[in-house]
Subunit: 389 residues, 2 copies
Amino acid sequence: MSVTAPAGFVAGGAAAGIKPSGQLDLAVVATADARAVSAAGVFTSNLAPAAPVMVSRAHLAASGGRAAAVVVNAGNANAATGIAGRANAERTAALAATGLGASSEEVLVCSTGIIGVPLPMELLDAALPPLVTRLTGDDAAATAAATAIMTTDTKMKQTKVDGEGFVVGGMGKGAAMLAPDMATMLAVLTTDAAVDASALARMLRDGMARSFNAVSIDGCTSTNDTVLVLASGSAGPTDEGALAEALHGACTDLATQMVADAEGATRVVRVAVRGAADDADARRAARRVADSALVKCSLHGGDPYWGRIVSELGSAGVTFDPERVSVSYGGVTTCRKGVAAAHDESAVRSHMAGRHVELQADLGLGTGEAVVLTADLGPGYIDENMRTS
Amino acid sequence: MSVTAPAGFVAGGAAAGIKPSGQLDLAVVATADARAVSAAGVFTSNLAPAAPVMVSRAHLAASGGRAAAVVVNAGNANAATGIAGRANAERTAALAATGLGASSEEVLVCSTGIIGVPLPMELLDAALPPLVTRLTGDDAAATAAATAIMTTDTKMKQTKVDGEGFVVGGMGKGAAMLAPDMATMLAVLTTDAAVDASALARMLRDGMARSFNAVSIDGCTSTNDTVLVLASGSAGPTDEGALAEALHGACTDLATQMVADAEGATRVVRVAVRGAADDADARRAARRVADSALVKCSLHGGDPYWGRIVSELGSAGVTFDPERVSVSYGGVTTCRKGVAAAHDESAVRSHMAGRHVELQADLGLGTGEAVVLTADLGPGYIDENMRTS
């Protein structure tokens, strides 16, 4: 499975020494023949983007949406590192390009880790050239790559979606900003479908809007968030709708794995809002609830405190009538028309004691709806984030 | 000190039995002669306001900004309680009005506590009439009132500011939404200055903007947040600028006490942003930093992770240039022009180990500036908020 599942891709991982632990921290995904293929990316909206984000954006623009490889390092975000940081990101791409026989503009780069510390370039100089000579298409290589991009993730995140005559594979790490010194949600997707770059970019944006962008752990937008996709074309032309659906499925699978592995999280929570004036209001309302530290503490405690949900909806900046709202947990309505509803309390408590919680709010106003995934807020989150070292 | 410090006010507290603990939970502040005087209020912007918020707003409108008394109960928010909740808030005002010989519209009401549970009106029926017969102007009565409005507060919050020929007193509880089953920031201010209601309302709004509205604990806006002020006029006419300054001073004092007592907080943090394109951008940027769970975890750990500050500023939705930003802790600059700056690390760690932390960001763009107070995010916050019971 993972990034080498589609035909035409190779991968590999190495321990460059960027992570003080000595674990794998450098990954490469490339086309098997080092040929540039259709590629697209979606990047953080943060106005302080990391150097690799700036460089990858520029490379995709310069190449007209084509790439032969992606290099990812973990342990250092190469963010807030100024001109030297951009030079290091460019040098990383050039090192891989030289080894592969591609041009620098055909290599994309991602980094994840501590912000504000120069990338230890001497470690990449030593580890990247040998790594690109030993990329393979087997599962072990894909697993090494998926392992190398982990930071505080406790589990490797891979996905594979089989389409009609094509395959989508992928690996990812993090969820929004998850870690102490490690930031960033990263995902690298591959497919053997044949598709032009502009269609691929459109599909990626659409798939993101309904998956990663619907994930909210702490409301923070990292300096390094990046999702990339490369399409080798080895499987030939594909139905665009089917490919879009498969890309969306892969994104959703990775996003769900990220939420489930959010730091200190004990529950995965699906916040579904309907009955909003429109979809934009529904998204804003769902995100407000999902981002609320108070709601997330209640979720950690398995406590169905619907009053907090109503309070967050009332301050979400959306059209709202407190006398029309209802709130349900796992399908059991606890608040109807803005006031307490008699309900089976043991059924609700039992639902909330589980690992997957469904939180539903109906604003009773229109047809707008949205879903956001989040996690509870437990002591583990604080433990992981209170110190960088 | 506190609400009875200005001439012309009496107060008292009682244990009505609303708090299961049996502690004081009912407070009254009134004019000594039960005469209605100039009054003003600022209320939550939440679109699901609690019944007492709706009733107090209506009373101030009906009376043209005059009030004789304020009744506050703790232990139950009377929020998301529908028409019955509004009737209970009206009945609370009427009970006090009858006892005092005032009209119902001259009594304002506040509640704080659990959302979505009917106010136990029989307890107020029993406790409020005797309480209003034994209000006094001594310190013990003011202390009882200030104690009765506490929820998860660990310390009573009172203030007194001496002006030229007048006094401002006040009591408060909470900080944004602080508690498990208890929401709400409440404050009741009194002054013996003579001032008309419209000028008083203007001064209160201005004083709020620079104090309570600059407090951010978890970014939540409660259903019950209320700040009220009554001016007895006993001290005669007053310079308006001096009164506005004294009101602002009282608000700031209470706000600082609230932040210091925020649940689970171990540090009070002053986030000062300058160099923004304008003051609105500076406020938005400072609030983004102050609301960030990641920044607050770093503050809990005493860790000067400036990269996170830059990342939050970059996603705050304000004009931003990563190559112009600088970040300082306690006046020691750790990031200059967007990259790490050599600095005295022990000085920064020592500053951050203290109870008061100064976090300064200069966007390097213009003259906009703002200050927001916040607290760190520690395990105590989760402990207090994970269960309502």
